[in-house]
């Protein structure tokens, strides 16, 4: 003890096996107060201060502390499990690769909160797709009490916890600021966009300085093994060896791995993947009904008129598809609403020279439009909604249709709000709030397909269908996800004898997409679309077919291509996607 030589200031005791640091600022503060006779604190506050520290104390290294700070949040067992593993086994650097809808955001929030509660993390950067920024901010604040802000201006970056879009972050002037900051933690959502190491995004990520890092993606491997390698290289370079070694050890061909057990072992050290249907996590069912409607005679007349118009133009243009694209949407718009057709026709005629013969044809079509008094689909929608008597989300491709439906619903006494890409973040949030509250229906265009959570709603009406099955799946994913308490009812409205019927047939019957596992679909589509996008193929079919029989035949063959790719993927199943089955015997 140092009682004997009180003036001896240096440490005579042995050193600790770890660096020891004393903060001595209190001594000066106390001394100055003694000299000046104040200012002194209240004894009650002194005791309260110590009591506060005691309650907040982290007594041990490896128990999750943050739950007591989170009122009203009950994470699911797989989420707690994931958090524990990342915190205590993976030292905070991991890929969270749960399947869609299992709550990766919650897992990331838990991990972040735990680190913050322990005082290990204070400066955080969260990069997500632009459409999800507000949602992340809201969730972090309300569920986790984390003071996150959405990045808006240059000074936003100063905040301790910032949520921004990756695109904004990597641009000047933000880029340099970010590259010069030491972040305690970086979280990236939709990290599969980083699968290609030659992109600016990847290079940017590589250069950011960070202590802890989480990559969130539902599809860590979409096509080939190097994608996985690249992702892991971001987190822990060298974990899987150098690329050459990786290839030699683990890759037979782009998509076929070897030494799978060993690979799985290595993967499980940096990646966690929970699957639906595993464990107590149960998803509710999907009830899909295809509602076939007969167009009214006036609507049919318009459809026929448009079809022949478009086909003639195609012939005249010599079969050149690219010049036709705006016209081709006309046919789809007819199946949606006359408003949509009208808007396109008007825009078209504006671009034409005054003496063009097309104008006459357009006015013919407009005459057909005027003849239409009712919208068959809208009426059916009202009927469906009245029967369900609950909240419902209606998807449509066309803004004109959206406007029309809003009006129509209002005239029929149904509360509805719109949601579209053009709205700024604040307005989108506002619309969501209204829908959550007293409004019964929300009519959304494609922007509603991305990212937002609608678990409180379990009815969905596809007023018209996008031709890309992935988009349909995304729409459904808004409603059918973890947290959804009820079975989900999906109504697909289609019009008989039109192109829509064929599309729906393709999606539903041929590729059975409504039953399909997520992650399967986008792989299939990526491969199909190597030659040309599925939408283009469909357009071609539509334009080049002579008659209905022709269409049917061509659709059939398209369906078969999809099926064969599906089989291919299923066969590879045990290979690549099986790799991601990290629980079964791998870890």
């Amino acid at each position: 003890m140092n009682r004997k030589n009180p003036h001896h200031m240096n440490q005579t005791v042995a050193e600790l096996p770890v660096p020891l640091e004393f903060d001595r600022s209190w001594i000066n503060q106390l001394e100055s107060r003694l000299d000046k006779g104040g200012p002194w604190g209240d004894y009650r506050l002194f005791q309260l201060g110590i009591q506060a520290e005691e309650t907040n104390l982290i007594p041990n290294f490896d128990e999750i502390q943050c739950l007591k700070h989170l009122q009203g949040l009950t994470p699911l067992p797989h989420q707690m499990d994931t958090a524990r593993r990342v915190l205590f086994e993976m030292s905070g650097r991991a890929i969270l690769a749960d399947e869609v809808g299992l709550g990766k955001t919650i897992e990331a929030g838990l991990i972040l909160k735990e680190y913050m509660v322990r005082g290990l993390v204070s400066k955080v950067l969260i990069l997500v797709p632009a459409s999800l920024v507000l949602q992340w901010v809201r969730e972090l604040n309300s569920k986790f009490g984390i003071p996150a802000i959405a990045q808006k201006k240059a000074y936003s970056w100063q905040n301790e916890v910032v949520v921004a879009s990756m695109d904004t972050a990597k641009r000047d002037p933000h880029k340099d600021m970010l590259l010069n900051t030491d972040y305690d933690m970086i979280i990236i959502d939709e990290a599969h966009k980083l699968k290609n190491k030659k992109t600016t995004n990847y290079q940017f990520m590589l250069k950011l300085r960070k202590k802890y890092c989480l990559l969130l993606t539902a599809t860590p491997v979409q096509n080939d093994m190097s994608e996985l390698f690249n992702l892991i290289n971001l987190l822990k370079p060298g974990q899987l060896g150098r690329q050459g070694d990786f290839a030699a050890n683990f890759v037979v061909d782009k998509r076929v791995p070897k030494n799978q057990e060993q690979l799985k072992n290595e993967l499980s050290k940096v990646m966690i993947r929970n699957r639906r249907g595993e464990g107590p996590v149960q998803f509710t069912k999907r009830n899909v009904s295809n509602v076939n409607l007969q167009l009214s005679p006036e609507e049919q007349a318009l459809y026929d008129g448009v079809t022949s118009f478009v086909k003639d133009q195609y012939q005249e243009a010599g079969g050149n598809l690219s010049s036709m694209l705006s016209l081709v949407t006309l046919q789809r718009e007819v199946c949606s609403s006359r408003d949509a057709v009208f808007v396109t026709l008007v825009n078209l005629s504006k671009k034409l020279p005054l003496d063009s013969p097309l104008r006459d044809k357009i006015w013919e079509l407009v005459a057909h439009i005027k003849a239409i008094k009712e919208n068959t689909k809208a009426e059916k929608t009202m009927e469906l909604i009245r029967n369900m008597n609950e909240k419902v989300i209606i998807f449509t491709e066309y803004r004109a249709t959206q406007e029309y439906l809003l009006n129509y619903f209002r005239n029929n006494g149904l509360t509805a709000v719109p949601y579209r890409g053009g709205m700024n973040r604040g307005k989108k949030d506002w619309m969501m709030d209204l829908f959550r509250g007293r409004v019964q229906a929300m009519i959304a265009t494609e922007a509603g397909g991305e990212g937002i959570n609608l678990q409180f709603c379990h009815h969905m009406i596809n007023f018209d269908l996008p031709w890309n099955p992935m988009r349909v799946e995304q729409r459904i994913g808004r409603v059918h996800r973890l947290g959804q308490q009820n079975d989900v009812n999906i109504f697909n409205l289609s019009t008989t004898g039109t192109i829509e019927e064929h599309i729906l047939n393709l999606l539903h019957e041929k590729i059975n997409m409504f039953e399909m596992v997520i992650g399967g679909l986008d792989v299939i589509l990526e491969r199909l679309e190597k030659k040309e996008s599925i939408e283009k193929s469909l357009y071609k079919i539509m334009l080049e077919s002579q008659n209905d029989e022709d269409i049917r035949r061509k659709m059939d063959s398209l369906g078969q291509s999809l099926n064969s790719i599906q089989r291919e993927v299923a066969d590879e199943g045990p290979a690549v996607s099986g790799l991601l089955d990290l629980r079964k015997g791998g870890s």
């Binding site: 520290e53 060298g238 709030d433």
Partner: protein, 397 residues
Amino acid sequence: MTMSPHEVQAYVLTYLEALDCQIMERSPAHVTVKLSPEADKALTNRPYYWGFVERTGAPAETMSFTFIFDPDSYQQAIEAAEAKAAQALPSIVPDPAEKNGVTNGSPQGEPPKETILGRYFGITPSMPLLGPGRILREEVVYGSRRLQQIFGAAREGGAFVNLFEQAAKRQLRATAPAVYEPWLGVCFKVEFACDLKREELHFLGISLRSGEIIEKFGTKLNRRDLSPRLAENMHVQTAKVSLSDAGAALESHLTNRLLELDYSWAEKAQERLDLELDVLDTYYEAVLREDTPEVELTGNTASGMESVHSNRTPPVPLKKVLDIPNAKPNGADVELAAEAVVPIDTETDAEEEKAKQAVIDREAMKLQYETRRTEMIWQYEPKVKVTAISSGMFHLR
């Protein structure tokens, strides 16, 4: 540890009373209080307002709050009160119970809209948009930000104290002056950090007269009646030990205590660090050793079986690449770029380009390596940090 609503209530009430706030209403589930200027400054984050008050000498208007400790009980109490009121005076239309507090100056807005506003503004920290006239309702439970803020305010408010033990009544009548021994008491927080973390509190006291050190000083203090007032007949002993020496003594004592602890956690952390560094070093050393930096797998390396598929054809991903001057990979990329941009006259130009690019890439790689290494050490390296939560002079008999 956590705090029950009861404990939270006791804590918050003590704090409010210590700061002379005016308690208007209280129940086991809530408290309605008009803050004192001191509390207002600490809790409401209105530095500009208070600056204005000081400069202009305007009368200060402090804010009022209803802090709710037990939301469920509070809700029930409100509903019960409403029910009673409704029975007593059936002609009065009952209030929408949800958002309006007990006394509320806000106009009767449409309930749904107000709910949305509440939710909407719930994201931003409570700004005093509503001014001192209204009473803000807040839930204060363990883990809420308001409570953490009060914790912080209490800690700051009580960080330095100077207290004297008050005599029991008996002794006051004694004529002989009582002798007081000066003690320095410090509450230390010890943080054991690596990629994980643990904490301990040590409240130590040292006599400035004898140099004796006592642990769990708080227990000794609790038994005594302490006050900032000097008692009568007090004779304060002069300190033999200077403050800084006392501080140093406490630090050595603490260090000795810490020495007795188990540091296997640090060893494990060091092992983890070493393992990770090993992986990292092997990787980067191999990469930097090669002449062409291995940023891309070219068809040249013998082991690049994967490359056969991805690099024979013009690499598909290239389409997406924007101009990256720095880390442009070698090999196929440069050739393609060369073809696309300017027809190269001589072969040597292309070679020079390649060489230059290689150097740039190496530098980038090295930088990456160093950064990653530093990051890793920052993350894993075990360390112990000691800070003082609060300290004070205690004059005890």
